[in-house]
Subunit: 474 residues, 2 copies
C-alpha cells in the first residue's frame, strides 16, 4: 500500500470511525455472538491475493463490530469505565502514523522526552510531589509485576545478580488482601514469591479495607519465624467494592521494616485528579511505587498505565540492559525507558495523553468525573430507598454494588435470582453490568463512568433493573 | 471532542500522515536533536485550557518530527528493519477507532477470535505444524519472559503454587549464549533464576552459534552438581551477527532431560515466511515455545510479537487468573488471552496483521524479503571485494557486519576509526547504522530491509561509507 492509497483508505476509515462512534448507542452493549461465531466468519487459510481496503471496511462493519462488547456505550456499566476519548484516539492514530521505534532514546528522542513531559504533567495533576518520576506502561498488571520485581530485588539486596530468588535463605513475603485485584496475586506468583509466601491480610468486614493492625501482626509473626517481608500492595480502590486500604498506616508500618509499598490505584487513580478525593490515598508520598490507568475512567485510550517510582536508580538497576548495539554517545544524558519496564520496543504512547490533555482539557475531564460521582450517589440513594433493594458497600467513587433481595430469597436461591436478572439484562444488549462475588455470594457491580453516560441513562438503567428483577421472580 | 470534531481533525491527520510518509526521504535519518531539546519545547506545566487539533498538528510537525529517528527512511540500516507498513498502520488506526477493551473473551469476542485466526494464518505461513497455537504479545522481550516463566514452572512442578522459586532445593538453570539478545538475560534475571544460574554456553568461534557439544557437557556438569536444567533459549538469528544456534541438535539434547526450549527468532522469524530459509530453524517442531516479531522485517507495525506454544494447557495454568468479576457463562468454550501473557487489558492488535496480510498480500511481502536477501548478498560481496574492507560474519539473511581496516590500524586505534566514520555518518543524517561490538572490538552492522530501501540506496550507502571512512583517516 502506497501513501496515496493509504490517504484514500484512511479518509474512508476516519469517516467510518466517526460514524461508528456516533451510532454506538444504537448497538447492543454486549456482543451478541456465540463462541466461535466471529472466528468462523473468516477463512481458515490466509488470504492468497490482496484485498481492497473497502472490502476490509465492510468486513469490519459486518464481521467485527457484532463481536464487540461496546464499552463506549452509555449503557455499559461493566467491569470499569474504559473510555477511549476521541481526543486520545486521535493521538493514538498519530502514533501509528508516525511508525516510530522506541527501543532507546536515540531511536526516537521525541517519544522518550514527550513521555517524560506528559508523565510529569500527570504527576502534577494528581497532586504528587516532584519526588516521583513516571513512565507509561501497557497495563496495571505489568506495572504491578514490575513493582514486585523491584521490591523483590530491594529486599534481597539484588539477588538477581547472584543466585536469584532460589538463592535466598529467608522466604520473601508479599502482603495484600483478598480484595486485591487478581493481577496482584498473578504478579506475586510470576515474580517467584510463591503462593505460600503471599499473605492475604485480614480486612475490616464493613469496608473491606486492609486492617492495619492485622498487617502489623502478620509482619511481626513473619519476622519471628525467619521470613523477609518484602512488599505490601495497597489497593486504592479495589475492583470488587472500591475499598481503600489505610495507606497512611500501612506506610508507617512498612517504614519500620523497610518494606516496599506499591499502590495499586489502577481504577481509582483517576479520582486523584480531583483534590477533594485525595484524602483517599493519604500517605501516598511515603509509598515506593504507584500505578494507575488513565485508560480507565479518565479516558485516555488503552493501553496507557502510569507507573511512578521515587527511587529511579533502583528501578533502572533492576530492569536495565545495556548491550553494545543499543549504546549511543549520549547515554549519560538521557532516559532509557526500556530500563523502566519489561519490553524493549515501545510505542509512542505519550501522544495519546498529550492529545487528550490538550484537546479535551483538564477542566472538562474533571467536570465529567464529578458528574459521575454525583450520578453514583444519586443511583445508590435511589436503589437504597427502594424496598427489597440493597446497596452492599460504601459508594466512595463511581461503583455501586447492589442486590435485589426480595423477601424469602436467600443463599443459593438468591444467587440464582441475582444471576438470572443480571444475565437477562446482559444478554438483551440493553445494558451491561458485571456480576461479582462478595463473601461468596453473587451481587452486581454497576460501574458508572462512560463518557456518554448521563443521568437519563441511569434512570433508564434503574427502570430496567426493576423490571428484569421482577420478571426473574416469575 | 465529539465525533464531528474528530472527523474533521482525523481527515487532516490522515493527510498529514500520508504527506509525512511520502516525504520521509527528505528528512535526516537520525534525529538531529540534543538531549532535552524536545522536552524543552513543551511547557513544564500541563495545559490549562483546551488547544485546537490543528495546533497539535503544527506541534507534531515542528516539535515532534525533528525528534524522530526515521526508521521508515530508506537509508535507515540501524538495529533492525522496523517497518510500519501503511497497510498495517491502517489496521492499527482501525483498532484505535474501535476503542475496544480486551480483558476477556466477553469484553470483545472479535478481538480474541480474530487473534486466533491471524495467529493461525501466520503459523501456516511459517510452515509450522498445527501442534502450535499462538497469540500476539507486545515484544519478544515480554514473550521471552513469559517463556522462561512457564519453563520455570514446568521444571519446578509448579513451584508458584507452593513456596515459589525460593522453595526450590536444586537451582534451576537457564542456557543460552553470549550472542543471545539482551532481553534473554533480562528475562532470566526477572524470572528469578539469578545470574549465577545463567549459563552462557560456548559458541563456534566462526559462526557464533551455540556449540551443541558444549551445551551437552554443561548440562551434564550441572546435573552432576545437583542442579535442575530448566530452559534453553536458542537464538535463531542473533542480534549481533545473525547467528543461528543448532536447533536440531539442541532439541535432541533437551529432550533427553525434559528441558524447555524457547526459540527466540525475533528478527529472523520473518525469514521463515520463505520456504528456502526454513532449514535455518530445522528442529523447531520439537521446541516448546517460539517468539518472533512481525513488527520487524515483515513490517506489521509495532507492537506485534507472536508467541507460539505447543502445551497451551501448561501456559494457561501458569499465567491464569480467574476472579469472579471476569467470569462469564461461556468460559469453557472460549480462549482467554489474558491467561496467555502478563497484561490483563489488551489492544485489538490482530487488526494490524489482518490488514497487512489482506492489503499487501503475502506474495508481495515474500518478494520484498527476497529482494532484501539479494541486496544483502550484493552489498556483502561489494564490500568484501574492496581493499581494506572486511565482512566479519557470514551473511545468512539481511544483516552485514563490516569494518574498514586500513593498513596499520588495529586495536584501540581501529576502534576509534570505526566509531569515527560511523558516528560521522549517523550524525550527518544521511544514513544510519548501528555500531556494535564483536569480540570486544567495534564493527558496524548494516541491517538491510526497510520497505523503501532499493539497490540504489545501497549503492548510495556504499559510496558514503567509502567517502566517510577515507575522511576519518585524515
Amino acid at each position: 500500500m502506497d501513501a496515496e492509497q493509504f490517504r484514500a483508505a484512511g479518509h474512508a476509515l476516519i469517516d467510518w470511525i466517526a460514524d461508528y462512534r456516533q451510532t454506538i448507542e444504537s448497538r447492543p452493549v454486549r456482543a451478541q455472538v456465540e463462541p466461535g461465531e466471529v472466528r468462523r466468519a473468516f477463512a481458515e487459510q490466509p488470504p492468497e491475493s490482496p484485498v481492497a481496503a473497502d472490502i476490509l471496511l465492510r468486513d469490519l462493519e459486518q464481521k467485527i463490530v457484532p463481536g464487540i462488547t461496546q464499552v463506549q456505550h452509555p449503557m455499559h456499566y461493566g467491569w470499569f469505565p474504559s473510555n477511549a476519548s476521541l481526543a486520545s484516539t486521535l493521538g493514538d492514530i498519530a502514533s501509528s502514523g508516525l511508525g516510530t521505534l522506541g527501543i532507546s532514546w536515540e531511536s526516537c528522542p521525541a517519544a522518550t522526552e514527550l513521555e517524560e513531559v506528559v508523565s510529569d504533567w500527570m504527576r502534577q495533576l494528581l497532586g504528587l510531589s516532584d519526588a516521583w518520576e513516571g513512565c507509561i506502561q501497557d497495563t496495571a498488571s505489568t506495572a504491578c509485576l514490575t513493582a514486585l520485581l523491584i521490591a523483590r530485588e530491594r529486599a534481597s539486596d539484588y539477588s538477581e545478580s547472584r543466585g536469584g530468588l532460589q538463592g535466598e535463605d529467608k522466604p520473601l513475603i508479599v502482603y495484600t488482601t483478598g480484595e486485591a485485584h487478581s493481577s496482584v496475586v498473578k504478579a506475586a506468583l510470576l515474580a517467584g514469591f510463591g503462593r505460600d509466601n503471599l499473605r492475604l491480610v485480614d480486612m475490616d468486614p464493613e469496608t473491606r479495607a486492609m486492617s492495619a493492625e492485622a498487617l502489623a501482626a502478620q509482619i511481626e509473626e513473619d519476622l519471628n519465624t525467619g521470613c523477609n517481608p518484602a512488599a505490601i500492595v495497597a489497593s486504592i480502590g479495589s475492583t470488587g467494592v472500591t475499598a481503600f486500604d489505610p495507606l497512611a498506616e500501612m506506610v508507617e508500618i512498612a517504614a519500620e521494616h523497610a518494606i516496599w509499598v506499591h499502590v495499586d490505584a489502577a481504577m481509582a487513580g483517576s479520582a486523584m485528579l480531583l483534590p477533594e478525593c485525595r484524602h483517599l490515598w493519604s500517605g501516598v508520598e511515603r509509598a515506593d511505587s504507584i500505578s494507575w490507568n488513565p485508560h480507565k475512567w479518565m479516558g485516555t485510550i488503552l493501553d496507557c498505565s502510569l507507573l511512578y517510582v521515587r527511587d529511579v536508580e533502583h528501578l533502572v538497576r533492576v530492569m536495565s540492559t545495556n548491550p553494545s548495539y543499543l549504546r549511543s554517545t549520549v547515554d549519560d544524558e538521557v532516559k532509557q525507558f526500556r530500563d523502566w519496564g519489561i519490553p524493549l520496543g515501545r510505542r509512542f504512547r505519550a501522544l495519546k495523553l498529550w492529545y487528550h490533555l490538550n484537546i479535551d482539557g483538564i477542566d472538562a475531564i474533571r467536570e465529567r468525573l464529578r458528574r459521575d460521582l454525583d450520578n453514583a450517589q444519586w443511583f445508590a440513594q435511589t436503589v437504597d430507598a427502594t424496598d427489597d433493594w440493597r446497596v452492599l458497600a460504601p459508594v466512595t467513587l463511581q461503583t455501586v454494588c447492589i442486590r435485589h433481595e426480595p423477601e424469602g430469597l436467600s443463599g443459593d436461591a438468591l444467587d440464582r435470582h441475582t444471576l438470572a436478572w443480571v444475565n437477562a439484562i446482559n444478554q438483551s444488549g440493553d445494558a451491561f453490568m458485571s456480576p461479582s462475588q462478595l463473601d461468596g455470594r453473587w451481587m452486581v457491580r454497576v460501574s458508572i463512568g462512560v463518557e456518554s453516560t448521563t443521568r437519563e441513562h441511569l434512570e433508564q438503567l434503574w427502570a430496567l433493573l426493576q423490571q428484569r428483577a421482577r420478571e426473574a421472580l416469575t
